[in-house]
């Protein structure tokens, strides 16, 4: 469903040119869970932004579900970002001074959906925040904020989730919880997930790992069956933090 062919992204810095993407070709099929791995400055975030239609490639072809993205209007791009893609950012990017519920409702507002309150509540319950509906971002922990962001990404029922260092700003326990959420989304709903990370442990949990460096793909290999890093599941059942699972499984249809 995602097809990149010879994609370049070039930034001009004064006289010099920076090739953030240097001829990248990549195909991702529906239902895959792909990690894009590389050191900082390797172009992995740029690749992700191009895939997410947040940024336009300088040249090359990017087809999403067979449609050339470069030919889309502002309106069509907005529609794609709204319906097909859900974003999860490293810095959460929630609207400040706005409740969790209102943040999750927002994509539905732009989608013009009617029963958005119920759907937003359901999405928040799925990530285990049914009791934090009216909290503002500054009243939530980092892990909770990221779960609000995931609920916001899921609420329009997209087919692709794009996550840029989703655990980068979290401690390991909160990071493990977030990864567990991604696991469930992937296995239970068959979502396509593309995740940018520089953490090998996170990459090891994905089905396919694409290594990128200096804007070029170095390697593209499968992890075989999706593996769980031992210990993560055990951590999740630890009592200190309320575990989202019981609420969440009940809400998934």
């Amino acid at each position: 469903m995602i097809e990149l062919e010879n994609v370049y992204k070039i930034y001009r810095m004064g006289d010099s040119e920076v090739h953030a993407l240097d001829g990248v070709s990549l195909k991702i099929a529906a239902g895959e869970w792909v990690a894009i791995v590389g050191p900082s400055g390797s172009g992995k975030s740029t690749l992700m932004n191009v895939i997410g239609c947040l940024d336009q490639p300088t040249s090359g072809s990017y087809k999403l579900d067979g449609v050339e993205v470069a030919r889309m209007s502002d309106r069509e791009l907005a529609r794609v970002r709204n319906r097909k893609i859900g974003f999860v950012f490293q810095t959460f990017n929630l609207l400040p001074r706005t409740t969790a519920l209102a943040n999750v409702e927002l994509p539905l507002v732009y989608a013009g959906v009617r029963d958005r309150r119920q759907r937003a509540i359901a999405a928040l319950e799925r990530v285990g925040l049914g009791d934090r509906l009216h909290h503002r971002p500054n009243e939530l922990s980092g892990g909770q904020q990221q779960r609000v962001a995931i609920a916001r990404a899921l609420v329009t029922n997209p087919s692709i989730i794009l996550a840029d260092e989703p655990t980068g700003n979290l401690d390991s326990r909160a990071g493990a919880e977030i990864m567990e959420l991604f696991h469930r989304m992937h296995t239970e709903q068959g979502l396509t997930i593309v995740m940018v990370t520089h953490d090998p442990d996170i990459a090891a949990q994905c089905e396919r790992v694409v290594h990128i460096r200096d804007g070029k793909i170095l390697s593209d290999e499968r992890n075989g069956d999706r593996r769980r890093v031992p210990g993560i599941a055990e951590q999740l059942t630890a009592p200190a933090i309320p575990v989202p699972e019981p609420v969440a499984t009940g809400a998934v249809r």
Binding site: A78, R81, F89, L94, P96, P107
Partner: protein, 413 residues
């Protein structure tokens, strides 16, 4: 997405950022209120003076003794004592077609005593014509009649303010007051004319013109038949210029003048336009101060709008990343700026009107009443300017941010 939806988004966003919204509105409120209050006061001053002049009567011409040159020295206007009661009689009896009535007056100041009360005020010697020409009405008793003038009677008609200050609610008719130690019987009380400005007309005491000259004047005026001013009423507004011409001819002939008039003729219109020039400068000055306030308010709006742009650029990036189109963003910001401008404008108009009212109720120069007039033009000017500034600086940065790639807006620092 519908318009109602974007209004809802804008309102939610405004209420989520109350301090920012309040500060933006404050700029608009200050600018609009300042313009409305100051323009209102200026306009009020103008109207007060206009109504003062108009309350003197209609279609009037004022003849005053003119400046005179003697031995190369030109004295100021009124220094020559050239107008006499006989001149007034001549004007009234020469059958001038454009002249309806002639009312001479002789003014002096007098010490007025009744019982223990004592005031120093203006004494005006008049003839019966003065009542109609200068638009006076008697609220009790009667006006000075021709017999009083011929007989040099010691009778007086007092102004409305004199009655309250001198008589404390007692009926003044038939009582005797002493003016410069001469006893006068009060035969009438004038209706209040209100206003103030050039010698309050309600603070005067009217007595027969001949009596003033015979018994109250000091110096050269004593025993003469000089008058300080002759008011001439033209038959109608279109005849004023003709009346000025006719009056001047009669006086030149009587005074045997070949070169330079020894009297000055001015119409009521001249007075009005002179006064309007003065108040016009006043209004202009107040308008300038108000304009500066508006500018300061505008800069306030601009600052708060530009300062919030960093945060808002990120917000725009977030909104675009989750599916807002450029038009969604613009609609939201347009609505926000409009709501702020309208509310700020309304509050500003109300505040300005209240300030104008407070200023007009403050006592200025005794009995002068200044009714502030809050004009539609100042409301429109102030509100439109504030709205334009608010809209421009609210929307332009938003427009630029909305045109960015979402990722560039998200990364904006």
């Amino acid at each position: 997405m519908t318009i109602i939806e974007s209004i809802r988004i804008a309102l939610v966003s405004l209420s989520a950022n109350k301090l920012r919204s309040a500060l933006t509105m404050l700029g608009i409120i200050i600018g609009v209120a300042a313009v409305i209050a100051l323009m209102g006061v200026g306009r009020g001053a103008q109207q007060a003076i206009d109504s003062q002049i108009n309350s003197m009567g209609t279609n009037l011409i004022f003849i005053s003794p003119g400046a005179v040159s003697q031995g190369g020295v030109r004295s100021s206007q009124g220094s020559a004592q050239t107008l006499t009661y006989d001149d007034a009689v001549a004007l009234a009896t020469s059958g001038l077609s454009a002249v309806a009535a002639v009312a001479p007056e002789a003014r002096t100041f007098g010490q007025v005593v009744y019982m223990g009360n004592n005031i120093n005020t203006q004494i005006v010697g008049v003839t019966p014509e003065y009542e109609t020409v200068r638009n006076y009405r008697v609220q009790a008793g009667e006006f000075i009649n021709a017999g009083n003038v011929t007989a040099r009677s010691t009778v007086a008609v007092i102004g409305a303010n004199i009655m309250t200050t001198l008589f404390n609610g007692e009926d003044p008719i038939g009582q005797t007051i002493r003016i410069n130690n001469v006893g006068f019987k009060v035969i009438g009380v004038l209706e209040a004319k209100g206003g103030g400005g050039f010698g309050n007309q309600d603070d005067q005491i009217l007595v027969p013109l001949t009596t003033v000259n015979a018994r109250l004047q000091r110096g050269n005026f004593r025993g003469s038949n000089l008058v300080s001013q002759i008011s001439v009423q033209a038959t109608d507004a279109g005849q004023i210029n003709l009346a000025i011409q006719q009056v001047s001819e009669v006086l030149r002939e009587r005074h045997k003048i070949r070169f330079e008039d020894d009297f000055t003729v001015r119409s009521q219109q001249d007075l009005l336009s002179t006064a309007n020039q003065i108040t016009g400068v006043l209004t202009l000055f107040l308008g300038g101060v108000a304009g500066i306030s508006l500018l300061v308010g505008g800069i306030g709006i601009m600052n708060i709008m530009l300062v919030s742009v960093t945060e808002r650029t990120r917000e725009i990036g977030i909104r675009k990343a989750i599916g807002a189109t450029r038009n969604n963003i613009l609609a939201q910001f347009l609505t926000e700026a409009t709501v702020l401008s309208i509310f700020g404008g309304l509050i500003g108009i109300a505040t300005g009107a209240v300030i104008a009212r407070v200023i007009s109720s403050a006592p200025i120069g005794g009995t002068l009443v200044l009714n502030s007039v809050v004009g539609m033009d100042s409301i429109l000017l102030a509100t439109l300017f504030a709205t334009a500034v608010g809209l421009f600086f609210g929307i332009y940065p938003a427009y630029r941010a909305a045109s960015l790639n979402p990722i560039d807006a998200l990364r904006y620092e």
